[in-house]
Symmetry: C2
Subunit: 118 residues, 2 copies
């Protein structure tokens, strides 16, 4: 007996594949948090180290490189003393804002559910 699918299997597969593609870029524990932090402000390395809770210098450095390679973030060395480096979302990086916002919304509600508080 051939199963009658409840939904268009082609659309399902496309949907699942698209999620897979997105997660391939956003893989690892830190990228989404880094992007979320950069959604509001341009930040320096040390700022990010403070904002992204729990990340180490090594991982931050590595993840930023990867985000730069994928054209989601730009790195700008400023001519200050000591030198400072600014990271900011590219225009393309900002297209992730919707994803970040829906995650934030869910996370916010989840915290309410778990703690029972506002």
């Amino acid at each position: 007996m051939i199963k009658e699918p409840k939904h268009d299997p082609k659309k399902c597969t496309q949907h699942i594949m698209a999620v897979h593609d997105a997660m391939y870029i956003l893989n690892g524990r830190w990228k989404i948090s880094i992007i979320a932090s950069l959604c509001f402000n341009t930040l320096r390395f040390t700022d990010l180290l403070r904002e992204v809770e729990g990340i180490s210098g090594k991982m931050l450095s590595r993840e930023l490189k990867n985000l730069e390679e994928n054209q989601l973030v730009t790195r700008t060395v400023l001519n200050t003393q000591p030198i400072t480096v600014e990271y900011q979302l590219t225009e393309y990086g900002h297209t992730l804002k919707e994803v970040i916002d829906s995650l934030a919304k869910w996370g916010y509600n989840h915290r309410k559910k778990i703690t029972g508080k506002e």
Copy 2:
């Protein structure tokens, strides 16, 4: 000199924290893909093994347990021969649909950008 923030720092922190909370639940390479697969259909263990591209039995088993603990998925043993086990999103699991959809949308556009094809 105290920096004048461009945005409400309280709201920023809340936003970033909310994303952090969401990612704490959705951590690892597989959970989001599993949830995406279950968005459309109830699926059996073996179905998921096929649908979630690249996952191993060990990881699938582990991730499903974790999702069950977090009340995003239910596990139902059916009285068939051989026994089959159905996994489905809980009502709470379905609240992630918006997240999944925005990821799918982004992933779909990203693929277009990279391949230049539809």
